[in-house]
């Protein structure tokens, strides 16, 4: 956001979060608050160009090899939900962060933070799910750690994983590379993970169950790269959903994004649950989807390759990258008007009005 406010210009580290001097839930929500925390508190403290790129995974060179390196912590509640568990998320989330730089994920570390009093059988089920997800994703857990916190100081089980993978020759996928003229593709229907979780919390039941879309995407990415290494940007729209992912790309690349709202695939049950809870599917989390910015000339071939892969069967073109309104995402509505898709500020809450 270059021209937005007079307010942000005078913000200085380390106290930019003037309206929230303590940590609030929104700081972990993947929206504007998360971004600010990273930009204004962590970045200045750590320094370093690689971190400054703020990609899902860092691309580093080590001994001549280009590696992708990433870490993520998982604090989902409930631990087990329709379509998966915290174990699946801990593998797929980190694997997908690596895959978004085009890497082939190889090794994971895995740390468990356990709350005193948690049933060992619960920990066992999480570990089983994690192991199975790793095998599916083709990665190996090679190191780990366990800590226990006092009863009441944790939510049963927290998991942190870190992963590394190899970036193939000639691949350079970064949000900075989005260009006007790029076509925006999403790999499948959006909103399933967030709604699966919310349905448990809100006591919603579905005629046909809405299950989390949690899945590893590295295979899909390699199938896309087999068509052309010239894929500009990949992003997995997790917390904050499609809106947050597209915003980050638009901001980082100083381009605009225009969506055709009707082209964004949303499952019926997700659309209904969102209408019911007052949510917008564009902001709902996904755990097995990616959005790609692809040069127009390669669109058809990439789309075809995606649709031939199990994780991309319902891939769809949803919009494009433009030179106008840099840093902003706008959507063309069903009635032919346009609206601004705001960046999410914090977590989305059910509303009544």
């Amino acid at each position: 956001m270059t021209d937005t406010t007079a307010g942000t210009a005078d913000w200085s580290c380390p106290v930019p979060l003037r309206d929230h001097p303590v940590v609030v839930m929104g700081h972990g929500g993947g929206g504007a608050l998360s971004a600010e925390l990273t930009r204004h508190l962590f970045l200045p403290a750590y320094g370093g160009e690689t971190l400054g790129e703020l990609t899902d995974s860092a691309a580093v060179t080590l001994g001549g090899a280009r590696l992708a390196f990433s870490t993520d912590s998982y604090v989902v509640r409930p631990l087990f939900f329709p379509g998966g568990s915290i174990g699946d998320l801990a593998v797929n989330g980190t694997v997908n962060d690596l895959a978004m730089s085009g890497a082939v994920p190889a090794y994971l570390s895995c740390a468990f933070l356990l709350e005193e009093g948690t049933e060992l059988s619960t920990v066992g089920r999480v570990a089983q799910a994690l192991g199975a997800a790793a095998r599916t994703a083709g990665v190996t857990v090679v190191t780990g750690d366990t800590k226990v916190v006092d009863s009441g100081h944790g939510d049963g089980v927290y998991v942190n994983t870190a992963g590394i993978g190899l970036i193939p020759e000639g691949v350079d996928i970064r949000p900075q590379r989005a260009r006007p003229g790029d076509v925006v593709i999403v790999s499948g229907p959006i909103g399933r993970h967030g709604i699966a979780i919310l349905s448990v919390r809100e006591g919603l039941t579905f005629g046909t169950e809405v299950t989390s879309d949690t899945a590893p995407l590295a295979g899909l990415v390699q199938a896309m790269l087999a068509v052309t290494p010239e894929i500009h940007v990949l992003r997995d729209p997790t917390r904050g959903g499609l809106a947050a992912a597209l915003h980050e790309i638009a901001e980082t690349s100083k381009t605009g994004v225009v969506l055709d709202e009707g082209a964004v695939p949303v499952p019926d049950a997700v659309a209904t649950a969102c209408a019911f809870l007052g949510l917008d599917p564009m902001y709902v989390a996904n755990e097995g989807r990616l959005v790609a910015f692809v040069p127009r000339t390669h669109t058809d071939a990439v789309l075809e390759a995606m649709r031939a892969h199990p994780q991309g069967r319902e891939a769809a073109v949803i919009g494009g990258c433009v030179a106008e309104h840099p840093g902003m995402v706008v959507a063309r509505t069903g009635l032919g008007a346009t609206r601004i898709v705001d960046p999410p500020i914090g977590e989305q809450l059910p509303r009544i009005c």
Partner: protein, 373 residues
Amino acid sequence: MKYIDEFQDPELARRLLADIARTVTRDWTMMEVCGGQTHSIIRHGIDQLLPEPIELIHGPGCPVCVTPLEVIDKALEIASRPGVVFCSFGDMLRVPGSDRDLFRVKSDGGDIRVVYSPLDALRIAQRTPDQQVVFFGVGFETTAPAIAMAAHQAKRLGVRNFSLLVSHVRVPPAIEAIMRSPHCRVQAFLAAGHVCSVMGTLEYPALAETHKVPIVVTGFEPLDILEGIRRAVRQLERGEHRVENAYPRAVHPQGNPVALSVLREVFTTTDRAWRGIGTIADSGWRLADAYRDYDAEHRFEVTGPATGEPAVCRSGEVLQGLIKPHECAAFGTACTPRTPLGATMVSGEGACAAYYRYRRLATPRPEEAVSVD
């Protein structure tokens, strides 16, 4: 018939728009009262599709916007107390009080829970008898019956650890206040459909007659809103000022009689301050004396210092369409969507918040900027 998709049809929307364009001969300013309608208008971009002469002013019909600072501060105080489980609709968590919001209270250790229905809060109280469970009852006439039923049931079932912080508001006194404003620009109202589902339409003919203003009861899907506008324009062009029901599938003139009788039992009419507008006589409901034991203000004895609105904020004038948001000195500096001062910046659909976002599009205008394919 699913009552949703049918009323979003783009082809029928074009016909309604064409009819509006055919009918309109001069400038008209109308207000949609309800925040839900504002949401729908912005969500579907209806304001961009209307012919130039029609101006929509986004009204005060959003509980998030209009709940006065004083009540928010009381909520924050009660929610901060030990042993209190404070339940609220999700909307209210981000509304700033004088120095913080409910998110902040939660991060300081307050037990704040987002519930979908006030009955969910009552059930929490039944399950945790050693905690004081408070529900934050805000909203218009649509929401009030649900809050009333929670109070009614708490009394009937003897749930002593349950209470309500009530700040309900009513639409007709707000319309009256807006029309009485000496600089009022509003020439027609789209009345809130779901408010009328509960209350019926019998409160409105006197308003339409007194102020010579067309009032069209309007639904929430795009076609409903366009039909409300179409009928309002027809009346304006003919010089009429009637109450029309453009949402007959969900609104009967008598409203919902069962809900009305419970509302009469549980609530009493009271003066109410509206954020950004000021106090409007008889514009709110509070718990009736028979329900005093369930009134959180009484139970927790919160009186609190009277908190005033920020003096610099001109949201009241914006609400009435008297000034554009950027004409306020605080706009974009002291007052932004992240640090809102007044009602119209608090809500994402408020005029100031919407203006703040769209200003960033600058030139070219949004419709011209779209160049995909």
